[in-house]
């Protein structure tokens, strides 16, 4: 059910909604997973540019994925999915393998739960419509971490001595590069243009064109993820073209910004609070002992 409120939120420019006067166009990513080759140049470029520490070098057995998922020290993550499919000419036997690769990143939501619940104002909406952590403000309360419907943001816990240990960390959409007119490090390093950076309006058009072309070419499974301004987060700032259901890539199929239900929760808490007061009054009234 699409409510009027969600339409309103979806059409809202988040930068303008945060008080910026005549902000520049909202920017974002379009990650076209159909042309991702799983080279992980994005992961490396992100680590290098942002000075992110090493967070474990172990083999997981999850195909070629040894960084497991997004976290405080993994701001781009390439997923590898191996699927059994019918091989051409094999009479329908599932003897072939389809390899899905996808570079995941912070969604920079229009309705960002991490930003809503942050009690210090450390999480900030930039003039570009992106969401960044201010490292000098964050006190490591950790509330943003379970609030994110995508499991993106996390608390950095190692290595000892790292200046941001204890703080919430995630993709900044390379705020320090975009401000100087450069594209983010991951997009710059991507050798196939699977990761594209630009104004969100332009990226939406490109994504729609690409999914149309793929379907016309017979790729029936191609679908866009995060492009719908009427979805539970008001549309993402990071769009994806996927070749299977989102959950196969570890993405939530229908994420909702948790604060959308917050007014109803406060109302219930108010009723419960009134009940507490009433019970106390009842306990003392009509009492002799």
């Amino acid at each position: 059910m699409i409510t009027e409120r969600s339409r309103l939120l979806g059409s809202l420019d988040p930068a303008a909604g945060s008080g910026y006067v005549e902000p520049p166009p909202r920017v974002g990513f379009f990650t076209d997973t159909s042309i991702c080759i799983g080279c992980k140049a994005c992961e490396v470029a992100c680590k290098e540019w942002n000075g992110i520490p090493q967070d474990g070098i172990e083999l997981t057995g999850m195909s070629y994925d040894n960084s497991v998922g997004l976290g405080a020290s993994t701001w781009r993550h390439v997923a590898f999915i191996e699927q059994r499919v019918a091989a051409p000419g094999a009479g329908g036997d599932e003897t072939g393998v389809r390899w899905l690769m996808s570079s995941d990143v912070c969604k920079h939501c229009t309705s960002a739960a991490c930003l809503d619940v942050c009690p210090t104002g450390s999480l900030l909406r930039t003039e570009l419509g992106t969401v960044v952590v201010q490292d000098d403000i964050c006190n490591g309360c950790g509330y943003c971490i379970p609030a994110c419907p995508y499991g993106v943001i996390d608390q950095r816990r190692s290595p000892d001595g790292d200046r941001n240990v204890g703080l919430a960390q995630k993709c900044t959409l390379c705020y320090d590069r975009t401000g100087a007119g450069l594209e983010p490090a991951c997009a710059k390093a991507c050798p196939t243009d699977s990761i594209q950076f630009g104004s969100l309006d332009e990226l939406r058009k490109r994504a729609a064109g690409r999914v149309g072309a793929l379907r016309a070419a017979g790729v029936a499974d191609a679908r866009l993820y995060g492009e719908d301004p009427a979805d539970g987060v008001g549309g993402a700032g990071s769009l994806f073209l996927l070749l299977d259901d989102p959950e196969v890539y570890g993405l939530p199929p229908d994420p909702v910004c948790t604060t959308r239900d917050l007014p109803a929760m406060w109302r219930r808490a108010a009723v419960a609070a009134a009940t507490m007061a009433a019970v106390t009054a009842f306990a003392f009234l009509g009492s002799r002992s």
Binding site: G69, G71, T74, D116, E247, D254
Partner: protein
């Protein structure tokens, strides 16, 4: 990669995801809270402070001095513990004061900070006025009871907010077992806070003054039991999280303790020992309720089923929000 992911690699994982083909190697979709035991402890101590302050104010206004003293001192102790737990849990405890930079209704943690900031001095002042008896006679000792009463009533006015906002704190996350319990958690925590406050009263006051604590014990325990039962049985898939091993152990224990505490409160009219045992059982029951609810959230965060299935059903039913 997260530290949890590493931990699960080394065999410390929770329950496996049954439908691994529709998830990414059975990995969680969302991140579990990184909060340490401090936050579970705070859920209890915050509720305890709230319940004690309510009972203390009532005792003050109805002339039950020993009940008042015990509850005021308990609320100050619970408040002090709460503050310590909250600061200790931060990734950067030295930056605690950054909480006071903003006033954000969209952040239950921000609202909780301000509730505590308003409640704390009032509860502290009310407790401090209890030392009036040990001060030499003078202006201070004459003024203190009045100040204490005003502060105690103010603390009691804020206490219901303190006792229930923590439910919103948990529900306002993407943790499925908490978020989907948003309608019921405030009543679980309200009941639990009342039961624990009544527990303090039963422990602290002589038989002649604990009548209100007995009634509060019964009402609080009943609310705690009823609302928790809704979590365990009426939340569809999310109830499975509350009925899974670790949470169920705590919630079973909580049920037994709350019921025993309420029964002891009613039957202990002539026995200070039985009343006190009932009070202790209510306090322990409240701790177990908080642990059970917290653990259920962790279970639902660790297994992608709890996140993905309801969303998939919503999409398939054509109800995209």
């Amino acid at each position: 990669m997260t530290d949890e992911a590493r931990a699960s690699d080394s065999g410390a994982a929770g329950e496996p995801a049954p439908d691994a083909s529709r998830s990414y190697y059975g990995r969680p979709v969302i991140k579990a809270p990184v909060w340490k035991h401090d936050i579970t402890a705070y859920l209890f101590t915050g509720g305890l402070a709230a319940g004690s302050s309510l009972l203390a104010a009532g005792a003050d206004l109805t002339g039950r001095h020993e009940l008042r003293r015990g509850c005021r001192l308990a609320s100050l102790a619970a408040l002090s513990a709460s503050t310590w737990f909250l600061i200790h849990d931060l990734g950067r405890p030295s930056r605690f004061a950054n909480m006071l930079r903003v006033f954000k209704p969209t952040s239950p943690m921000s609202m909780g900070t301000w509730i505590l900031a308003a409640y704390g001095p009032m509860a502290g002042l009310a407790a401090a006025s209890e030392v009036t008896g040990v001060l030499p006679a003078g202006v201070a000792s004459r003024a203190l009871p009045g100040v204490g009463r005003a502060a105690g009533v103010a603390a009691a006015g804020l206490a219901p907010l303190l006792g229930t906002y923590t439910a919103v704190l948990l529900a306002d996350t993407a943790v499925p077992a908490w978020h989907d319990a948003g309608r019921h958690l405030p009543f679980v925590f309200a009941g639990s806070a009342l039961a624990s406050g009544a527990g303090v009263g039963l422990l602290a006051a002589p038989l002649g003054q604990v009548g209100p604590a007995r009634r509060m014990a019964v009402a609080g325990a009943a609310a705690e039991l009823a609302a928790t039962s809704v979590l365990e049985h009426r939340l569809g898939l999310q109830s499975e999280a509350y009925r899974s091993a670790a949470p169920a152990r705590f919630l079973r224990l909580a049920r037994g303790l709350a019921a025993a505490g309420a029964v002891a409160a009613v039957t202990g009219r002539r026995s200070r020992v039985l009343s006190a045992l009932g009070g202790a059982a209510l306090l322990a029951g409240s701790i177990c309720t908080r642990c059970g609810v917290y653990q259920a959230g962790l279970v639902s965060a660790a297994d992608p089923r709890f996140t993905v299935l309801p969303q998939r059903q919503r999409l398939d039913a054509g109800q995209a929000r």
